[in-house]
C-alpha cells in the first residue's frame, strides 16, 4: 500500500454500450496540483463524478487515505474531505451568499454551532474576495462572483482534495488571472488540487503534474513539459501548432 492520498485503480464506467471511462488508474500525493486535460467528451467530468460517488463505478476501486471508498455517496465524500466544484455553478439561489458558504461549514466540516459556522464562512468569503457581497442572494451574483462563491463553498468543506471542474470557463482574461492567484493560495494551504481546464496557459502555470484523458482512456501522465511534447497528446488534443507556439512564447520570455 502506497501512502498516496487518493488512489484510483483501473476504474471504468459504461453507459450502456458506451465506455465513458476505461480502465483509468492514477494517484494523488498530498500537496500536488494535478491538471486533468483532454478534448470535450473525453470523460473528465465523469471521472470526477466517479471519484466523488455521484455515479457508481462499473469496475475498479477508489482508495482515499488508504480506505476503500468506491461505493461512497456524494455526501460521504464531502464529509471525508473530497470536495468538488461544478462546471456549471450550483449555488442555492434564494439563500444569501453567507448562508451558501455556512452550509458547507455545517454539513461537510460538521460544525454544529451555527454562529461559529457563520463566522468561519465569513473568513472564507473574505479570502475569496466576496466579503462585500455576503448578504446578497446568490442568484444576484455575476458569473465571476459565482465562481468565487463556488470556491468559498468548497473551502468551507475543509477539503483535503479539491476537484475543480473548469472553474475558469466563461471568465475573461483578467478574471482568469484573479482565479489563478486564488487557486495558488488555496494550494498553499496544503490542499491537494485536481484542476480540469481547457486553457493550457492555466494548466501549464499551475500543475505539478498532468493527466490526459482521451475517449475515456488515460493516454499520458507525467510532468507538464514531457506531457505536452508527447506525440499522443499532441495528436489527440493539443494539435501540432501548440508546440510551435509554445516554443515562440518561451523564446520571447
Amino acid at each position: 500500500m502506497s501512502n498516496a492520498l487518493l488512489e484510483v485503480t483501473s476504474i471504468s464506467k459504461n453507459f450502456g454500450g458506451v465506455a465513458a471511462v476505461k480502465d483509468v488508474s492514477f494517484s494523488l500525493e498530498k500537496g500536488e496540483i494535478v491538471g486533468l486535460i483532454g478534448p470535450n467528451g473525453a470523460g473528465k467530468t465523469t471521472l470526477v463524478n466517479l471519484v466523488t460517488g455521484v455515479i457508481p463505478v462499473s469496475s475498479g476501486t477508489v482508495l482515499f487515505e488508504g480506505q476503500d471508498v468506491t461505493r461512497q455517496r456524494p455526501f460521504e465524500a464531502a464529509r471525508r474531505g473530497l470536495a468538488r466544484t461544478f462546471q456549471i455553478v450550483q449555488p442555492f439561489p434564494a439563500m444569501t451568499v453567507h448562508e451558501n458558504v455556512t452550509a458547507g461549514v455545517v454539513f461537510a466540516a460538521n460544525e454544529s454551532d451555527i454562529e461559529k459556522a457563520r463566522s468561519i464562512a465569513l473568513d472564507h468569503l473574505n479570502f475569496v474576495g466576496l466579503g462585500k457581497e455576503v448578504d446578497r442572494p446568490a442568484s444576484a451574483l455575476t458569473l465571476p462572483s459565482r465562481k468565487k462563491l463556488e470556491l468559498a463553498k468548497s473551502l468551507a468543506m475543509r477539503p483535503k482534495v479539491l476537484l475543480l471542474d473548469e472553474v475558469n470557463a466563461g471568465l475573461n482574461t483578467a478574471e482568469v488571472e484573479g482565479a489563478l492567484d486564488l487557486i495558488r493560495s488555496i494550494a498553499q494551504r496544503g490542499i491537494t488540487i485536481v484542476i480540469i481546464e481547457h486553457l493550457m496557459k492555466v494548466v501549464m502555470s499551475l500543475s505539478t503534474r498532468i493527466l490526459v484523458l482521451h475517449h475515456g482512456e488515460l493516454i499520458s501522465q507525467g510532468l507538464p513539459d514531457s506531457v505536452v511534447s508527447d506525440p499522443k497528446v499532441i495528436e489527440a488534443y493539443l494539435g501540432t501548432k501548440y508546440l510551435e507556439r509554445r516554443k515562440i512564447f518561451q523564446g520571447a520570455k
Binding site: 455521484v54 455517496r73 455526501f75 439561489p93 452550509a103 461537510a108 454544529s112
Partner: protein, 305 residues
C-alpha cells in the same frame, strides 16, 4: 428577532382564543375552532415536506386515512381512545418510513404522482379488505360518552394539542441543522448532496414529520365523527387544501401555514358554504390566482412598495 417575538405573542393569543370558545360561543363556533386547529396542524405537517424540502407531496391524504382506520380499528377492539390515537401516530411513522424510502427517490412531478398513487392504493385497500375495514360501507366507531358539549371540548383540545405539537416541531426544525439541510435540498438537491447533506435521511425525516401529526388527526377525526369510509378518509382534496394553505401563507416559514390555514378556513366558512355547487371550482380558481399573483405567500409580500 423582534418580529418573531410579536408573532409568538399573537400565536399565543390565537391559541387562547380558540381554547376559550366553548365558554364564550355556541357549538357552531366551537366546531369551526376545532377545524381551525385541525387544518393548522395539517398545513404545518405538509410544510415539512412541501415547504422546507420542496417536495410536492400528496401523501397527507394517505397519512390521515391510515391514521383514521388504524385509530378506529384499535378503538373497536377496545382500546382507550387517546391510546388508539397515539398508536395510530406510531403506525403512520412506520408506514412513512418504509414508503418514503421508495418514493423519495423520485423527484418533482414523479414524486407528486407517486404520492397520489399512495392515497389511491390505500383507499382501494380500505374498500376491498371489507372483512377488516367494512369496505365501501364504512366503519362505525363508538360515540364517546359525555354529551355533545363535552365531546366538543375533547376534540377541540385534542386538535389544539396536535397543532401545538406540530408547531413546536416546526420551530425546532426551523432552527436546527435539519431545517437548514432541508432548505438546501429545496434549493438544489444535487448541490446539497455534494456539500455533505445526507439528503435521503433528511427527506425521510421531513416525510415522517409530515405524516406523524396527520396520523393523530385522522384517528381523532374518526372518533369525532364516529363513522369513516374510504372515500372521505383518503382524500386528495384535503392534501390539496393543505398545499394551498401553506402556499397562501408562505412555504417553508414557521408562521405561514398558520396564517394560510386560518385565512382559508374562515374564507371557506364565510363564502364557499354559500356556493355549495361551485366550491371546488372556486378552490381551483384560488390555486391558479395564488400561483400567478402570490407565489411566495402572504408572509413574503413586500408591503413597502
Amino acid at each position: 428577532m423582534k418580529n418573531r417575538r410579536i408573532a409568538y405573542f399573537f400565536f399565543a393569543i390565537w391559541v387562547i382564543a380558540l381554547a376559550s370558545t366553548p365558554w364564550l360561543a355556541n357549538n357552531y363556533i366551537v366546531k369551526i375552532a376545532t377545524f381551525l386547529a385541525m387544518y393548522a396542524a395539517i398545513a404545518l405537517s405538509w410544510n415539512f415536506i412541501g415547504g422546507f424540502a420542496g417536495y410536492p407531496s400528496f401523501a397527507t391524504g394517505a397519512f390521515i386515512g391510515l391514521g383514521a382506520y388504524s385509530g378506529a380499528l384499535l378503538q373497536n377492539t377496545g382500546w382507550f381512545a387517546p391510546l388508539a390515537w397515539g398508536a395510530a401516530m406510531v403506525i403512520v411513522v412506520v408506514f412513512a418510513a418504509l414508503v418514503g424510502k421508495v418514493i423519495l427517490k423520485m423527484k418533482g412531478h414523479y414524486f407528486a404522482i407517486g404520492s397520489i398513487a399512495l392515497v389511491e392504493v390505500l383507499s382501494h385497500g380500505a374498500s376491498s379488505w371489507s372483512r377488516l375495514t367494512g369496505g365501501g360501507e364504512g366503519l362505525n366507531v363508538a360515540i364517546m360518552a359525555g354529551g355533545p358539549d363535552f365531546i366538543g371540548k375533547v376534540f377541540l383540545f385534542t386538535m389544539i394539542v396536535i397543532m401545538l405539537m406540530a408547531f413546536i416541531a416546526t420551530v425546532i426544525v426551523d432552527k436546527s441543522r435539519l431545517g437548514f439541510g432541508l432548505r438546501c435540498i429545496q434549493q438544489n438537491e444535487d448541490a446539497a448532496d455534494m456539500l455533505g447533506v445526507n439528503v435521503m435521511r433528511y427527506k425521510l425525516l421531513a416525510f415522517i414529520l409530515s405524516g406523524v401529526f396527520c396520523g393523530g388527526i385522522g384517528a381523532a377525526y374518526a372518533s369525532w365523527v364516529a363513522y369513516i369510509s374510504p372515500g372521505d378518509s383518503f382524500s386528495i382534496l384535503v392534501t390539496l387544501k393543505a398545499a394551498v394553505m401553506v402556499l397562501l401563507g408562505g412555504a417553508g416559514t414557521v408562521f405561514g401555514p398558520l396564517i394560510g390555514s386560518a385565512v382559508f378556513v374562515i374564507f371557506e366558512e364565510l363564502i364557499w358554504s354559500k356556493f355549495l355547487d361551485y366550491h371546488q371550482g372556486i378552490l381551483g380558481l384560488v390555486v391558479v390566482l395564488l400561483i400567478f399573483f402570490l407565489p411566495n405567500g402572504l408572509l413574503k409580500i413586500k408591503w413597502s412598495r
